[in-house]
Symmetry: C2
Subunit: 392 residues, 2 copies
């Protein structure tokens, strides 16, 4: 009997809005969004799920949300409760938190034409995004990212996940949101580590795709380190734009094996594990980028002048560029990380290395001797910097 | 700051193959599929997960699979174990079964470039499809459906799901497979109820889309009732084709609210609940179709001659067209089902009713008085048939 050949395309579209004071009655952004989304005959509901760490610094937000909806978005029925979940990796580690969200979807009758509104850092957005994606095979998700990393990277993309039995991001889906609202005022309450950490992803995209953006960072490095909000606003916008362009231009749901946005990430992933997630994702990425750049220089790909510019920007932003776990166990742990990354990719290793600032090439092998030298280089580099600070 | 507008398309394609004796060494179908899928540099693995109820009747299959892979597909490394899971709704009810599958994905190092091969009825395919879709954000899924319903409907489509706290299909995703292999020899071991049950979905698509297919069924009704395999092969092929066409032609991931393939399903869903899933999905669908057709006739839409042809085909196939649960509690339970279906759709009720065989129209309201009359009609109709059988 004749084979049936099935093929079709699925279209996605969503906007990433930039704003200040999203839930202020005078801000029409959300109201306009919901008006545009209206459709005759539907009684849409909305369930808000927010990051406890965020709410701790913004206790006025739940009240503002209730007022905003009742006055400006009366056509959408808000669930009687705003659900709060622990912030950071805890959100993704405990399956009971996930279950609690699915139960709330059931209890408040949130259907496929209703909304889940996720407010928080990357971890909470990942958890809520996953719960929304699998409940009723996908409830419309609105993301309101509240950290630098989530505003410029994770929150504007198409992925979600939770951890399973301690395995990072083991369960997840590709599921675009229906809208993202980046409120820059929310970033003020971040601690310095989270402010800085998210910048690592911007350095990453600049290095592999946009030399001009990297030069802009060099010029604004002091402002960024001193938490200048205008500079950060530009950085987030440009990084988010490059991130969304990359997704749309390539392989949105990562069916292939090329993953240029994983630049600097193979060592970063291992380091997160080796430190038991005590260092932030962005802190690990900064070290991973440093390692792969030193490697590229030692391998004769990247000019030393470029290497120095890269290390300098990251150092001036306050990133540590070495972690003792890189050397532990004779660097075998780290080399295992490379092996695990290879397996994760399905057997074929693909690593992005820089040829110059703004341009990378994918390679399929790394030399473990050079990796080892690069680790020693970073160790010496960091301790020299620390000494010079002590002497200052 | 300027809003970023993201939009992109994701492409899917897969073939539905029809065959006999899929795992016989002489059958090149699977071998060819994996050869075409080969790509330099990947070490792909495969994990087979099979339906216990199926394996009970086909105990030779695991051995055949091992031999087939080691001789014909050496480039794909089969996990050392074929995992079996309980068949039927049990598969979807127990979260521990899902967890067991995800643990196996981890243990056997099944990555995004490897395969999960699901063998079984619709319930097992739904469970395995869900586990595959969310592990590592999506492992390539090969479906080998072993029931009529899964070969002509659920297994060739794009949905998966499990139940959550007793709520049917509460968790799931839209996730197309990379291939479907329909082996018609597997159907021989089905019991009569499962053989018949899957035919209900074919009646459904014929009634709303293809009068000629319905006429074919009228002509082959005796052969189908007597388990003629050639007739069944044609029925499955035509139904699968219409099903995949419908998905590709419309709204594959059901972002909108029109769901013509839910014809006959509002009452069917409620009846499955009311009987605690003791009746099969297809048995419930046959009753649901009968109810909505009697309704359409009573509402003056459908000619009585058409109604009689429809009821006659289903009766000759052996379907019961009435269940006492429809009348229970003064039909309030059933009417609640309509209300729940409305909520499920997001507030706007959309029900397909027939104008004639082969053509339906969507309506947004049903009259509860007419529903009640239709139930009484079916009750009388069925008891008359039963009496006449007793007299025979
Ligand atoms: N889905 C993706 O594509 C993707 C990409 C990169 C990273 N991630 C994930 O993102 C997570 C990291 O996200 P993150 O860097 O945003 O950190 P995070 O979500 O772990 O949050 C860090 C801390 O900041 C708190 N917080 C959040 N907003 C705050 C605010 N405005 N003021 C004060 N405190 C606030 C949180 O409660 C938490 O304690 C990781 O789980 C990582 O796996 C996902
Ligand atoms: N994903 C979708 O789009 C979709 C569509 C319709 C229905 N479904 C789901 O499909 C399920 C029903 O599937 P089904 O009708 O295939 O029944 P089933 O999967 O419940 O299987 C019925 C019984 O047949 C046994 N069995 C399977 N293959 C056999 C064989 N070849 N020989 C003998 N016994 C065999 C099973 O072990 C089970 O006991 C429901 O859970 C329903 O929700 C899903
Ligand atoms: Zn990252
Ligand atoms: Zn059905």
């Amino acid at each position: 009997m004749q084979t049936i050949q099935q093929s079709f395309k699925v279209e996605y579209s969503y906007a990433v809005f930039f704003t200040h004071y999203l839930f202020d009655q005078k801000n029409p952004l959300l109201k306009n969004f919901f008006n545009d989304y209206s459709e005759q005959g539907f009684q849409r509901k909305a369930l808000v799920i927010a990051d406890e760490g965020f709410l701790h610094h913004h206790p006025e937000i739940p009240g503002q949300i209730s007022s905003y909806f009742s006055e400006s978005v009366p056509q959408v029925q808000l669930a009687s409760e705003i659900i709060s979940v622990p912030g950071g990796e805890t959100a993704k580690n405990d399956i009971n938190t996930f279950n609690r969200l699915v139960e709330a979807v059931d209890m408040y009758g949130i259907d496929r034409h209703s909304f889940i509104i996720a407010i928080g850092g990357g971890a909470v957005l990942d958890l809520v995004g996953y719960a929304a994606a699998v409940s009723h095979r996908g409830i419309k998700l609105i993301r309101i990212p509240t950290t630098v990393l989530s505003q410029n990277d994770s929150g504007v993309g198409v992925k979600n996940s939770i951890n399973f039995h301690g395995k990072k991001n083991f369960l997840g889906t590709f599921a675009p949101p229906v809208a993202v609202f980046n409120d820059l005022t929310f970033l003020k309450s971040l601690d310095d580590r989270d402010w800085r950490s998210g910048i690592a992803e911007a350095i990453k995209v600049a290095l592999i795709k946009d030399a001009a953006f990297f030069e802009w960072m060099e010029e604004h490095v002091v402002a960024l380190a001193h938490r200048d909000t205008e500079s950060m606003a530009y950085l987030i916008h440009r990084c988010a734009e490059m991130h969304t362009d990359h997704i749309a231009g390539g392989d949105p749901f990562e069916f292939g094996s090329s993953r240029p946005l994983d630049f600097g990430h193979w060592a970063a992933h291992k380091l997160e594990y080796l430190t038991n997630f005590e260092i932030r994702h962005g802190e690990a990425v900064a070290i991973g980028i440093a390692l792969d750049c030193v490697y590229a220089a030692k391998a004769g790909r990247l000019a030393e002048a470029d290497l120095n510019r890269i290390l300098e920007v990251m150092h001036k932003l306050g990133f540590e560029l070495y972690h003792p776990k890189l050397s532990e166990n004779d660097k075998i742990n780290l080399r295992n990380g490379l092996q695990e990354f290879r397996e994760h990719l399905g057997g074929q290793l693909t690593i992005m290395l820089l040829d110059k600032i703004g341009k990378g090439t994918e390679v399929h092998e790394l030399d473990t001797g050079i990796i080892s030298d690069a680790v020693d280089f970073l160790s010496a580099f960091q301790s020299q910097l620390t000494e010079s600070k002590v002497l200052e």
